[in-house]
Symmetry: C2
Subunit: 322 residues, 2 copies
């Protein structure tokens, strides 16, 4: 017989700078949270010891460990199947090897611990508490420093045979010789165009190669960030709108390819760029409808995550633990 | 309580010209088969009546309808969820509307009937009897007149929210202005390069734009087919090998994008082009390993379907019925 679920789970957002622990209830409410500096510890064991010391008082606040169903961790380079963090360049205690972090927390806390990467955690969050609650087939695209994705098919998150599926930031959107170099070392990746860094790059290119007047010209070229573009676009700045149209066109075309793969009912967008609302969503939709195979036209919804103003990373990670 | 499986299923390969009915056992042996002309009938009901008259003697041969678990149909433009054929351009009795073919056969035969498209049926065949028997995550790519695909994730065929997932012949592999026009009306689709028609097109292009000596120059340009290229390649003809390298490079790059999506353990290729074995598989593998994201390198297998010399379409359709 299946045991009745306990009322709370712990969500852990393990980032390059901070690690935040939150106690979350089944409705997606974060009851309390606290954090530690991720990089302050020399060894993975020191990090776990500090993390446990940080989360214990939170657990006591909601009635002790017997009220906790489990812990979910969202972390860079996390392997869902093995519960490990593998060669994570930004984590001093995990950049040179494989750390069985899920098992280490499980041993200390004596509750089940699951771990996945950041984008998959965000996707679990959408499925449990967000725009994916009533959907069985959808794709979450996170537009941040990079472009991440989580794919849900028939109600299940897609991990692939090795746990690394959903790297949609690294599909090739430009096969040409002059395609942009991506951080992954390859050329023409979606991420090189549609991440925050990609948008800033487009801005610098368009400022250099066109004469379109723009308030962006008031800033030194190498300090322009995607936020500057968003602010300018919101004021009707034509060059900024051109940058959004370029970005949206590429995202829409990429989504048309994703539709050919898994035919999702919705694409859910998450991240800073989405705060510009229709200014970015309209070119995405228009480009998608223009590009997509006839049988898919007019079917997919394009949504903005409703979780953006919450601590979505903690929420998403917590969703792993139910 | 689940009833014990009956010993046989019926597989139906519904093609533009012929429709073949086969009785198949659990090991994938086709016990007996018979067929009718698909296009000879004015209405769907006439087609079903003729089909039932054709399959009844086969059913009697294996001991009557009580030995049959069900029927699976592989058909163009088939909707798995609804059991319908929708606007199939090559079927006179289904080109203008929606035909509930699964239900029509079910009513006549009083056994469960499932239907899906040709590529998905081929994929079910690989999963039940072929190269996918021991795999949970794989992609079947059918290289025929068109390029079709079936995607298996976590042991389940991917249908998508509307039943039309897996249209990998129509992902865009060339975003350039001069990309080839595809039969779907869009430009740059994988199918425009890597189908049998695409290979013939590459041959005509290379014969026109290069001076490489080739036995292919002995044929009139507009009569060259992909089979001619395969024969020439098998004899070491350099131009034919160049055509295979070009085709394999595009397929390998496309598979690298598919890996970023679902990270399959294997790609299984099916169709005439695969009969050239390593001549086509080697460039596919090399291009894949060169193109794919680092975390996927060296992981995926590239296999040729072992079902190619059987009546794979009947087998695949039959796999739906278990």
């Amino acid at each position: 017989m299946k045991e009745k679920s306990k009322p709370y789970v712990i969500g852990v957002d393990l980032g390059g700078t901070n690690t935040v622990f939150g106690i979350v209830d089944a409705s997606g409410k974060i009851i309390c949270e606290a954090g530690i500096k991720t990089g302050k510890y020399a060894s993975a064991q020191d990090f776990v010891t500090a993390g446990v010391a940080c989360v214990r008082p939170l657990i006591e606040k909601v009635g002790g460990i017997q009220t906790i169903q489990g812990m979910g961790i969202g972390a860079p380079n996390a392997n869902y199947y093995k519960g490990t963090i593998e060669f994570a360049p930004n984590l001093p205690w995990a950049h040179k090897g494989v750390v069985p972090l899920a098992q280490m927390f499980q041993t200390e806390l004596d509750i089940p611990v699951k771990m996945t990467n950041d984008a998959n955690a965000a996707t679990m969050g959408e499925m449990k508490y967000g725009a994916g609650k009533s959907l069985k087939d959808f794709i979450v695209i996170t537009l941040g420093t990079g472009v991440g994705a989580g794919i849900v098919i028939n109600g299940q998150l897609v991990y692939g045979h090795d746990g690394f599926a959903g790297e949609l930031g690294h599909v090739i959107v430009d096969h040409g010789k002059d395609a942009r170099l991506c951080g992954c070392g390859r050329k023409g990746c979606l991420e090189a165009y549609c991440s925050a860094t990609g948008v800033a790059r487009t801005a610098r290119e368009m400022l250099t190669t066109t004469d379109t007047p723009s308030q962006l010209r008031e800033k030194p070229l190498d300090t322009i960030e995607s936020l500057d573009v968003a602010i300018a676009a919101s004021k009707g700045d034509q060059l900024a709108l051109n940058i959004f149209n370029f970005t949206g066109r590429i995202l829409g075309q990429a989504c048309a390819d994703f539709a050919a793969f898994s035919s999702p009912e919705a694409f859910i967008f998450f991240g800073g760029l989405c705060r510009s609302g229709e200014l970015i969503m309209k070119p995405i939709r228009e480009s998608y409808e223009q590009s997509v195979l006839k049988i898919f036209k007019g079917k997919a919804k394009f949504l903005i995550s409703p979780l953006m103003d919450t601590n979505a990373a903690v929420l998403g990670a917590s969703a792993l633990a139910w």
